[in-house]
């Protein structure tokens, strides 16, 4: 029995590590970067952009679920409707360094914008 309990505890530990502690690889935003919205994720979901400079990101939504339609960046009051099967360009203002979340209306699709050099 104790083996099963141990497996359970390890399992809990893995969940914590995998979903909360692990940081995904970051991707630098450039003009060719397209963020795909599909199957409940933004990929890439961890994007670095330069500070104090307006940039734009291109989203390609392939996911028909209504959850995926809205892209929100609450910090900058940005909300964009992503058109299904099309590229939607989202303009970002010049942002100070820091990390900002972007997500869907229900916060089920999540990503992070890292603003740094």
């Amino acid at each position: 029995m104790w083996i099963i309990n141990l497996v359970g505890v390890v399992f809990v530990g893995l969940i914590v590590w995998w979903f909360w502690l692990y940081k995904p690889n970051e991707v630098k935003a450039n003009k060719d970067l397209i963020i795909t919205v599909e199957n409940g994720v933004y990929s890439p979901s961890y994007i670095t952009v330069p500070p104090n400079q307006a940039v734009s990101l291109v989203f390609n939504r392939k996911d028909p679920a209504p959850c995926a339609e809205q892209l929100l960046i609450p910090e900058f009051n940005i909300s964009e409707s992503l058109v299904l099967n099309q590229h939607t360009r989202v303009h970002l203002p010049a942002m100070p360094t820091g990390e900002y979340e972007f997500h869907c209306q229900m916060k089920m699709y999540k990503g992070t914008l890292r603003v740094s050099e």
Partner: protein, 756 residues
Amino acid sequence: MKPSVSHHRCDSSAEYELLIDGANCGSCVKKIETALRNVQGVDHAEMNFAQRTVLVSGSSGVEPLINAVEQAGYHAKESVAENDEAAMTEKEASDQAYYKKLMRDMSISLGVGIPLMLYGLFIGDMSVSSPAERFAWLVVGIVTLAVMYFSGKHFYTGAWQSFKNHSANMDTLIALGTGTAWLYSMVVIIVPALLPDMARHVYFEATAMIIGLINLGLALELKARGRTSEAIKRLINLQAKTARVIRDGNEVDIPIEQVRINDQVRVRPGERIAVDGEVLEGRSSVDESMLTGEPIPVEKTQGDLVSAGTINKSGSLVFVAKRVGKDTALANIINMVKKAQNSKPPIGRLADVIAGYFVPTIMIIAVISALIWLNVGPEPTVAFAIVSATTVLIIACPCALGLATPMSVMVGVGKAAEAGVLIRNGESLQTASQITAMVLDKTGTITLGRPQVTDIVAISGYSEEDVIRLAASLESNSEHPLAEAIVASAKSRDIALSDVSDFNAITGQGVEARVGEQSLLLGNKKLMKERGIELSEQVIEQAQVFAREAKSPMYFAVDNTLAGIVAVADPIKDDSVAAIKRLQGNGIRVVMLTGDNQATAKAVADKVGIDEFYAEVQPQDKVDKVKVLQDENEIVGMTGDGINDAPALAQANVGFAIGTGTDVAIESADITLMRGSLHGLADAVAVSKATIRNIKQNLFGAFIYNVAGVPIAAGLLYPVFGILLSPVVAGAAMAFSSLTVVTNANRLRFFKVKEH
């Protein structure tokens, strides 16, 4: 003869906006601008680096511009107005296709799940003992796998994708729950020896039912969501599709996206105005109710401004396009409403934080709950552990929680927009629902802001017409608002004005001039005294009566004899009294501020039923008055229409801008009232209150559902009541929880904004 070419060139000068791609540094700006300026026919090119756009004016046409940018090493494309209507139709089509797919998936999985469930309930139990049963259940297991593949594939791929991305979502929970149930059942069939007899039970019906029910829930939610955006749809439908443009003397109908600034557009009776512009010729009345809520059509003639989306009623107008595409007032409104609809009020933040951590937490709860069943649960522990873990995973989907706020905001903001109230964001919406004190600037807010002549008293043998004719002639040189009122009054009576000479304005007192042989004097008591003009008791008393009625009396003298009194007042808007009563009826303390003198202020306050007012308030003092109220712990709404109100609007908890006509300062306030009426204030408060109440209902529903649902699913009630939820019940509950939230939000659509 004038060369026709140059004439043509002059006429076809236009503005283009290009979107630039690939410009990443400041130095690109110069390069692009230079490239564009070198194109033949370009007069002007200016790049906005932040937005990556260039505004080009000239007669070059678009193609050469794009080529020039490409040659400089960048990409360009013309920025055309978004065709919102086409986008809307496209979205509806894709929603419809998705709906069909969900319904198909639902029928397949319920088609398998329902017979299985009925069998389990009424005919046999779902346990596995004989080899024949094992074989039969193996077939069912494979059929269920097919169902999982055909109807539930999106859950599994979604779960896998997000797992790889270190994120977890609804799909994760569904995939884990149904996957666990299926795998356990297959273990029972293939290696029954691993499990005690009692635990040899299959749960294929749970897997099939859950997939079916959740697909059904998603489909119904999609339908209900469509209804929440109806307000936007209605606004978008106000946009005309084509415009009749006059080019080279010919009138052609062109798609709305191709109309350019400075195009001349003709609009015939009954047609919608396509873009914002200024009337060049014609006379007509225009129905602007869709923008302002103002039901009475407005007369338009040369020099007047017309707005996209409004309807030309009677005559034909030709106007020159001033703002096109996404710059029109209507497009701005649509854009602003869309933005506001997606912004969340602070009340939703807790739900957001919870939703963000929810799924992994639930996975942990599922593991712990299974461990507890295994350790201290009754036999068969394995079966109970599996059922409770599966049920926890399925019932815990945070969808309802995530939808609670956005759905209501969507409907509430749309509802307000229909009443001519533009709410900037979720925060303004929430604060507006909490307002306890409303500060109103008098001029232009409670009153029309345009003084009018209310009374003319003629004395010493002069007729009323003489007085108004001479006074108006005298004032025709002055630009004071009171002077404009007198001139307008003469015009409205069709009185022709005479030429004046020797015009002289006496600061703080009045004006004087000569008309022909007569010397005219118009001004206050002081002026009359200084010029030695006698004022009888009776005349002074009459002037005081006017003053008590919030009118400004002016004495008028001809050749040093008093000829009359002209009283001018800024009339109170028709519905100010009723609207103020509505606010007070909501328990809101209404305070009036004005730069006018005490007597005028009191008269107006009495008329509209305000007890608390401050007169002779300088613009900079308005901020202090708002602060004083805030120090008294009031949540202050401030309403104003002018630039001098801006600091106070910013200081207030919610700033309301009154838009006069269509020239709306949408950018400056938290909430903009498109129509001049103060009813907009009461409407804004009413809608925001209803919306926040609706959000609270949704959050309560969603929280209760998850907070109570998860422990019950984990088996908290089992030791006492012997209740353990079936995974199928969890599936149904989860599917319908989001639906409940969306439906409740839709109830807001039936909320009546106006009580009057």
